[in-house]
Amino acid sequence: MANEYVVRTKDLVKEYTMGDQTLKALNGVSLDIFRGEYISIMGPSGSGKSTLFNAVGGLDKPSSGSVFINDVDMAQLDAQELAYLRCHTIGYIFQTFNLIPVMTALENVTLPTVFAGMSTDEGVERGIELLELVGLGGRLHHKPSELSGGQQQRVAIARSLANNPSIILADEPTGNLDLNTGKEIIDLLKSLNKDQGVTIISATHDLKMLDVSDRIVWIRDGQIAKVEERKDLDIRIGEMEGQEALH
């Protein structure tokens, strides 16, 4: 099935060597992610959550096992093709927003379209459209330093969508935001997921995220502890606080 899975990982292993010790950050993770899914990867610090996230995003090479994005084996790609993949297929959202400080909101959103070879006019049009979509139509020419955290993250979300990616990878997108702003960002991500059909994979600690996720992947000691569907989760939503104690 070519189109059913947008990301598949097979027996992912990532080893780090520290002195004479070998540490397995990931120990045989196989995960299939459907097109259009909203997936949260949860787990305590040091669980291998970030390692899995980085491997899926093509930011880090696994020691063994493979990652397929749209049925393309990432290990087979050279530097140019990886860059192409990052530009067109994956959109990144970061905990610290990571806007380019020298550029305005619009220029930040337009940058990936420049890399993709879009003309300036087209890129600007697309940029304005996306910034309006995330509710920042009135702040096109503000520098990141003139925007609040929530607004910066909105710009980052608009930027991640610039080249119509099939996947958005969000690394702790609400980690640097207060409760309400975090909630707004999560709602925005969910609405994008619903309306644009973009697959969202997010690594997070934020329990607010559970509410909108289609599936939650709990990682523990480099392995998938369990995968929960939202329908199973609804029943237990009252025990949400207990989840933390579990890990």
Binding site: A2, N3, S50, N54, G57, L59, D60, N70, D71, V72, D73, Q76, L77, A79, Q80, E81, A83, Y84, L85, R86, C87, H88, T89, Y92, F94, Q95, T96, N98, L99, I100, P101, V102, M103, L111, P112, V114, F115, A116, G117, R159, N163, S166, D171
Partner: protein, 237 residues
């Protein structure tokens, strides 16, 4: 090994690009936002080139002076008459000639050393700028930038700074020496030879300054380009 094929069945082609005009735009903005840091980098080149230019200008003036003395001597040899001032000129020139030649060589060496030191300074300053911007560079790579884009951005930025600073450095060195000579020897030394040499030296300074900044940026730009995209994810340091 088969060509990687995307879901829609089309072969993934290498189509990532960064047009030169866009790269220039980004580089100039980078300079502007880090204006004072950029100015410090530029000051290094400026001072080095100013010193270089002043040494070379002194040589130009010595040469001009020597030509004048030779002319007077020739007049004397032809049996012409010289004023008292001219006699002083000839005598002092004879006394100074040896000394000046020795000092001149030493200064040439010093100016070369100064340029080398300022090259190392630029490398250092650019390396710091790379460290400062690791997150920005990582982010660009996450957005699909190739190593080459990063290299391009760094080179444009430093060469632009290098060129401007070199020209300014030349003007400073040139102005200082010319004013001193003007006060000492009067306007007579400012002949066509002087202007020709000044122009030549201006071009020389610009080329040397720019080339040195370019060389100084090779290593920092390489470091920046090799930065992994995952650097963007690292928390604040």
């Amino acid at each position: 090994m088969s060509e990687p094929v995307s879901a829609s069945g089309t072969v993934i082609r290498r189509q990532i690009k960064l047009p030169f005009t866009k790269a220039v735009e980004i580089s100039l903005k980078s300079i502007r936002i880090r204006f004072w840091r950029s100015m410090i980098t530029a000051a290094g080149i400026l001072l080095g080139i100013a010193f270089f230019a002043s040494v070379r200008m002194s040589a130009v003036f010595s040469h001009a002076q020597q030509t004048r003395v030779d002319e007077k001597r020739a007049t004397l040899a032809r049996g012409g008459k010289l004023s008292a001032e001219d006699v002083i000129l000839i005598n002092s020139a004879a006394a100074n000639a040896k000394e000046e030649a020795a000092a001149g060589t030493r200064l040439q060496w010093l100016s070369i050393m100064a340029l080398l030191v300022c090259t190392v300074g630029i490398t250092n300053s650019m390396l710091m700028s790379v460290t400062e911007r690791f997150k920005e560079i990582g982010t660009m790579k996450c957005l699909g930038a190739l190593d080459g884009f990063i290299v391009k951005l760094f080179f444009i930025e430093s060469c632009f700074l290098g060129f401007i600073a070199s020209v300014l450095g030349f003007v400073v060195g040139w102005l200082v020496i010319s004013l001193i000579r003007l006060a000492m020897d009067g306007v007579e030394v400012f002949g066509p030879y002087f202007w020709m040499q000044s122009l030549r030296l201006c071009g020389q300074s610009a080329v040397i300054g720019t080339v040195l900044t370019f060389l100084a940026t090779i290593f920092p730009a390489y470091r920046a380009a090799k930065m992994p995209p995952v650097a963007a994810l690292r928390a604040e340091v």
